[in-house]
Amino acid sequence: MTLELEGVSHRYGDELAVSDVSFGAEPGELVGLLGPSGCGKTTLVQAIAGHVRPTAGRILLRGDDVTDTPPERRHVSVVFQRPTLYPHMTVSENVAYGLAARGMDREERDARTRDYLDLVDLEEQCDSYPTELSGGQQRRVELARALAPQPDVLLLDEPLSGLDPTLRERLRDEIARIQRETGVTTLFVTHDQEDAMALADRLVVMNDGRVAGSGHPRRLYDSPPTPFVASFLGRSNTLSGTVVNQDPLTVAFGDAELSLDGTNLRRSEGETVLCHVRPKDLSFAPAETNGASVSVTGEVKRIVDLGRRYDVTLETRTGDEVVVEEPARPPSRDESVSVSVPGDCVTVFDGEQSDSSRLS
């Protein structure tokens, strides 16, 4: 592993900011660290970069314990949310800054600086000062400066926050390309699930200082381990059902019964379980129920037209509020409709677990 965190915890005074976090990054991997503000992401970045000494746990880089190594000897580069280019240096001087520290001679330094300015497509701005660049260009210079010393690990701490959507998406593609081309092991920290999903080879989702789930983005999205991950990785509906059969697990929503083959959960008959299903997996369909999907009926409460889709909110007969994403032709308000819930898109959670990790 290029980067490993082992049981890292950190307190600020009385407050536990990070609690027993362990994860790692393989060489060349782009790991997304995703979580809401205040979940401890920034503390982890600071700990990996060496600006915060965690109260417990170890940080390893290429197998060496660096927990007590000062930042300048870690070979970890950081790009922060707010630009940190040096205003008193030109673009080239900024990019060359990390090379001089490594005692590289002038010629090699110039060549390397040119290479990395080329990588971010800003050779022509080399003699400009940072203030003369646009916001997007500044970000790209930051990337070049961080990458030029060829660090073992690149930390990207919310590099897309606060940018306009168009610029944001363009820079995201740029980061993906640069990471692919340089092959640098990268930890991408964000609170935006779309950025994380789009970029990461693997996701670590954090909540309240702890790891709430980790794994391949698509698998986490499709089979979230906790309700928190379910709702943080994308919108989520919760339907309460009653277990009517154990093997295969069959859950009843009102009259309709759905058999869930894929789950390993063991639940007693009569128990209430919470079923999670994504709004985009629901569709308005004629009321037919078979083993593989179930039809739930409800009344349309609200329709929001988002252009690319309609969000239709309905209240089911059992009192749950359910959002359906409908790309084209929404029903009308107060209409009574049937929604088809496909069994393979449903995840079942424990009632208690759900309560404890619900979004506050």
Partner: protein
């Protein structure tokens, strides 16, 4: 309508601005009447100018060298007793200069252990140029410390963190990043400290009435010859201060 909002502050503020400007203008218009060159040609005056031009830069240099690192630590670190240190830094600002001078005498005066030991080896700490430097440093050093601290505090700490991550130790980062970025604030602090040092009067009168500096010479000449006797030297002192100020702006 919108300018009416400004009437009250403009009137009140104009009054105090006029009060700041009036003496300045009156003083400058007085200089035509005085014979500056003649006024500056006495040996006493020239000694005073020389003494001030020796002591104030030294006091400023001491304050800067000792104070700027302290300012950086105060801007960046928290440590036990920080409040006490902050209190100590503003203390000389709060203490009236004559009281400050009295304090210095109680610490290093002729009859104190430190003062008599120093006098015994030939470096008297009072009534000497060294005494002037001591008085000036005590009174003027807080300016550079406070201003530099504000300058360091205004730098986003992440710029320094980025430098560390790019391979520079704390000292190199201070030199490459913190110092250049705070350099405007530090210069402003140095100028304030210099202005305060070269104009220092109260503490100097107590600690080193002799040898005379420009301010103490102005006082002595004023007692002897009134306002006309001191216009040349006062103008010179003001001129030096303003030139230094203008040089760094």
């Amino acid at each position: 309508n919108r300018t009416a909002e400004l009437l009250v502050p403009a009137l009140l503020g104009g009054l105090i601005l006029a009060y700041f400007a009036l003496p300045f203008v009156a003083f400058l218009s007085r200089t035509g009447a005085a014979n500056i060159t003649a006024g500056l040609s006495t040996p006493e005056t020239q000694h005073a100018i020389r003494n001030s031009l020796i002591t104030a830069p030294i006091a400023t240099a001491i304050s800067t060298v000792l104070g700027v690192p302290l300012a950086y630590v105060l801007a960046r670190r928290s440590f036990p007793g920080k409040r006490l240190v902050e209190g100590l830094v503003v203390l000389p600002l709060i203490v009236p200069p004559v009281v400050g001078g009295a304090m210095i005498i109680t610490a290093v005066g002729r009859f104190t252990p430190i003062g008599s030991a120093a006098a015994a080896v030939g470096v008297p700490l009072t009534d000497s140029l060294l005494g002037v430097v001591l008085a000036q440093t005590f009174v003027a050093a807080p300016f550079v410390i406070i201003t530099a601290r504000a300058g360091f505090g205004a730098i986003d700490e992440r710029l320094e963190q980025a430098s560390r991550s790019l391979g520079y130790g704390p000292l190199a980062t201070f030199r490459n990043v913190s110092l250049p970025l705070a350099h405007g604030a530090i210069l402003a602090g140095i100028v304030l400290t210099f202005a305060r040092a070269i104009g220092e009067f109260g503490a100097t009168m107590m600690v080193a009435y002799n040898p005379r500096t420009m301010p103490t010479r102005i006082w002595v000449d004023f007692i002897a010859g009134g306002i006309d006797a001191i216009v040349p030297l006062a103008l010179t002192l003001l001129g030096i201060t303003l030139v230094v100020l203008a040089a760094v702006q």
